[in-house]
Every structure is written in structure tokens, then in C-alpha cells.
Assembly symmetry: C2
Homo-oligomer: 308 residues x 2
């Protein structure tokens, strides 16, 4: 494995973790959780998405949350990212102080059509323009390919389709590229192979990964990504984001479990894992159900060791 | 990753999965479960261990189970392995038809003393002699290093200590070497590094791995082992083997979840995963609690795909 100089932790639980939850988290609770996540040492925190409140009521206060934190002394060195789906969202994000814009294009025609009403090519055109606009405004920008490892509607997605979108991004001067396993279909061998190809497309491409833990493969996929040179990792406290109606659903890779792995690997220092665990425990109380994460359920984040 | 020609699946749920369970599985139930596991296409199934029945009552019928299966038409090509701890166990195993003997030495002095009353060096001496005796008798033999990735009592275990034991095994003509993460402390980078070293010690060494899924790292460790050339994988149906008093304990890597990963990676064919899932479901009913495995809890082994 290439020597790991610096891993970048991108906490997306406040957006991808919460967006499907029916029970609305009040703004003051969000603020408290985000303060803990900042104090954990996360490099980037996604505070929310800019979508119509009717579509995702949980995200209705995203602008307010950004306004609260952007000038807060509790901000520290943390970068605040926001997900935008269209020009209107970009405008809102610009107005409330988003520092890093995240936006994506699906590699699946069906998923793209259902999600955006646009073909992949149309969506890529539009997102690329938005991304360039944000870059010009001095913002950080991360563009992603959704359904990069398979599509719930279409099944397998060829590497060529993913690469075509990435090449378009690179051609437009975009360098922070995330591949998202939207449907939870990735396997570690596939992850390693695809990221190696993406990294070979341009010298200065910065790869990020976004996995959902559908079959217990989340951390294996994270390890595979790390092995192939990915250094940006998106994850959610407590593994939030799964379907609340299945015992172990399609949640994001769990932040504290992932960080625990990286710490054991010796490639990560200076993360206050307890600060994340405290948010996971509060989220469990708030939603009134066990969440997918493992570490937060153990006593003080430690398990009793047993012998064979 | 080196091309994978053939993965060897070693199902250890009937031994390492059951041994800590208080509720005794009747012999006829064991036989039914083992029949399903054979029909899944497992290459090797560990039918039990040869320990004193007072120490592990769950294993009291190991000899009877071997006698039942060794001449059964349902045996197919499956190899039946048994764990032995001492000469008495070896004798019992020889008498009832064990085809592959598994035996191990801990890399941790404290673990070795507590478990066997012997120092690591004494245990290595004794196990090596037993292994050679079994080899001479025409049996397959797998020798393992327990606590190879860390010890619950001592903490970190240096690679040198593991390598010293493996070199002793190799010097005695033993070629099937398993590293066991007895205390569930392994991380994937460590796994990859250690197995690469072990494989470099001798050209024809055949490496096996045995992981417990303490922190959600089980499959990441399996992937890392596979990446480093390991081709023998020990696992237990439903991820049995965890402490029954914790929600998600220290179970073995779950067979069906691991096989699902390998199938997605395209390195495994011809496994009837449903046959294993049926055993996991019966074990859940028998023990009356949810077990750690993921796949067996999903509808028909399939999860609904969701979109970002």
C-alpha cells in the first residue's frame, strides 16, 4: 500500500444520514451534534443539502445551520460542505456561506432520469457548469459519480460509463472526484480496480469514496479504496442513512467504526472518536432505535476480548 | 491482486460457532445442519473438537458425529476436519475418522499458559510432534498460530513471535498454516503485511485465515488476506461464535456474508449460499436470538436497493 500521508474525513451524517428520517431533528439539536462532530476533528462536515423543503423536510433548515456555523468560534479548521442538486441550490448555498459544494451525476441512465428527469449526458453538462461556477467563486468543489458501482434499477454499471463522466469532470478542470456506491453494490476488488483507473486518468486527481454498507462490505470497500490511493472518506456517525424499517439497512459506512479501523491501521491520529460516539448515542435516543454502527454500542467504545 | 484460482472454504461453525453456546445442540440437529452445509459446497467442514466433555459439553458427541458422516453417502467431496488440543484428542480423532486435523499454538505467552498450562515453546514442541504423527498417518494437517494479530491479555503481538512459530512448523515439514485472530484485534493492513511475510518464508506454504468479527472488520480482514494470497478461509454460518450476551459480539466471520463478498468479486462459483442461510435461520430459531450474520436476515438473501 502507498504510504498514507493524510486521510481526509468527510462526515456526511447530518445530510445523507438524516435525510430519509421522518422524525425531524430540531435545528438546536443539529447544532449540538455538529459541534460534537467538529470537536472530533472531522476535516469536512456536510451540514445539509439544498433541496426543496417539501421534498426533504429534514433539510429545510440547511441555510440556517450554515449561517449559524459559518461565523461560529466553534468552527475551528473544519470545512463545511453542502450538497446541491441544481442552480437554485447553488444560489442558496452561495448566499449562506457554503465552503465546499458537493454535486453529482449518476452513471445510470435510469437512476439519472428518475432522480433528475435528465439523461446522464444532460446532467453531466449541467453539473459541470455549476461546478465551474462555484470554483470561479472561490469555493471548493467535489463532483461525484453516483451509482458508480452498480445501479438498483439497471444492475451492473460498466467502468467505461463511470470513466466517461470522470473524464468530462477532469476536462472541465474539476479535480476532486468522488465515486458513490449509491445502491450498496460495490465489492472491494471492484473498488480497487476502478479507483486505480480513475487515478491514472490525471496526475492531480483527488479521489473520494462514499459507500453504503448494504452487505457488511462497507469497511472492506473503504480499505480497498484506501489501498488504491483514495484519501477522502465520506461516512456518517452511527452508520446513519439506512432504511429505518430494516434491522440492518443500507446506512452509510459508520464514521466511528471506519475511524477505528484507520486508527488500528496506524494511518490516522488526532481524532476524538468519543465525540462522534456521543452523537451516535444521542441519535439512537432521538430516533428510538438501534442504529447500524458497532463501536457506539460497546461499553466505552471497548469490547471485552475473548479467547479461542 | 494475484489471480484467484481456487478458494477453499472451511466451515467452522459447528465447532467454533457452537462451543461457547450453553444450549446443547442435539446430535440429530447437528447432523441435519451439517448435511445442509455439505450440500452448500463447503470444501472442508469442521465437525467438532476433541476436548473433555466436562470442559465443553457442546462437543461431547464429536466422535459420534464423525462416525456418522465418515461413511455417509451424503459426504460428497467434503473433507471433515476436527480440532485437537492434545495427544488424547488426536487418538480419539484417529479412531473416529477425522480426515484433517487442526491444532494450534498461541503466539502469546499469557494466552498459551492460561489455555494450555504450557509456554509457547513447549506448546509448539508438543503440537509439532502431534502434527507430524497425524501427517505420518496419512491425514491432512493444518497448524495454526492463535492470537497471531494481538492478544486480549498482552495486547500487541510482534510479527517476529508469529514468524518464529511458523518457521518451526515449516521446519517440521508442515505446510498448511493458519493465522487466527483469536482476540478479534486484527486490522486489514496488518493482515496483508503479516501474510505476505509468512508466504515469503517458503514456496509451498498454504495460508489459511481465521478471523473474529469484533469491530466490523471481519470482511475487510478477509479481503486483505485474499489480497495477500491466502486461499483458505475459515468462517461460521450466521457469524456464530460471538458472546451470546452482547448484541454484536466476537463471532466468527459469517460464512454466507463472506461467500457473498467473494461471489460479488467474481472469485467463487458453485456455492449454494441458500443452503448455508437455511442453517443460519434454524440456528436463530434454535438459540432464540438474532445472530450476527447479515445476509440470512434479508428477504431471500436479497436486500431492497435504495437510491441516494
Amino acid at each position: 500500500m502507498e504510504k498514507v500521508e493524510k486521510l481526509v474525513l468527510h462526515e456526511v451524517g447530518m445530510r445523507d444520514g438524516l435525510q430519509i428520517e421522518q422524525k425531524i431533528v430540531p435545528t438546536e439539536t443539529k447544532i449540538k451534534w455538529i459541534e460534537s462532530l467538529i470537536s472530533s476533528g472531522a476535516d469536512i462536515i456536510q451540514l445539509g443539502s439544498f433541496v426543496h423543503p417539501r421534498r426533504v423536510p429534514q433539510m429545510a433548515d440547511t441555510d440556517a445551520v450554515f449561517r449559524h456555523f459559518i461565523s461560529s468560534p466553534k468552527k475551528r479548521n473544519c470545512v463545511f460542505s453542502g450538497l446541491v442538486l441544481n442552480e437554485k441550490g447553488l444560489e442558496r448555498g452561495m448566499a449562506c456561506g457554503v465552503e465546499m459544494f458537493c454535486m453529482g451525476v449518476s452513471a445510470s441512465e435510469t437512476h439519472s432520469k428518475k432522480n433528475t428527469g435528465m439523461s446522464v449526458s444532460e446532467a453531466a453538462e449541467r453539473i459541470t457548469k455549476m461546478a465551474q461556477e462555484a470554483l470561479k467563486a472561490g469555493k471548493k468543489v467535489q463532483v461525484s459519480v453516483q451509482s458508480a458501482f452498480g445501479c438498483g434499477y439497471e444492475g451492473a454499471i460498466s467502468e467505461e460509463r463511470v470513466i466517461r463522466i470522470v473524464e468530462r469532470f477532469l476536462g472541465a478542470g474539476l479535480r476532486q472526484i468522488s465515486l458513490a456506491d449509491t445502491a450498496g453494490m460495490a465489492n472491494p476488488a471492484q473498488v480497487e480496480k476502478l479507483f486505480e483507473k480513475i487515478r491514472s486518468l490525471a496526475a492531480n486527481v483527488e479521489c473520494a469514496c462514499h459507500f453504503h454498507d448494504a452487505w457488511g462490505l462497507g469497511l472492506a470497500n473503504v480499505y480497498a479504496a484506501c489501498r488504491s490511493g483514495v484519501r477522502y472518506f465520506e461516512s456518517a456517525f452511527a452508520g446513519m442513512g439506512g432504511c429505518p424499517f430494516t434491522r440492518r439497512g443500507m446506512g452509510n459506512v459508520c464514521s466511528e467504526d471506519m475511524i477505528n479501523m484507520f486508527m488500528k491501521m496506524g494511518v490516522l491520529g488526532d481524532v476524538d472518536i468519543d465525540a462522534i460516539i456521543s452523537v451516535s448515542k444521542e441519535a439512537e435516543d432521538f430516533f428510538g432505535r438501534k442504529l447500524p454502527g458497532i463501536l457506539y454500542k460497546t461499553k466505552d467504545g471497548k469490547k471485552e476480548e475473548v479467547s479461542k
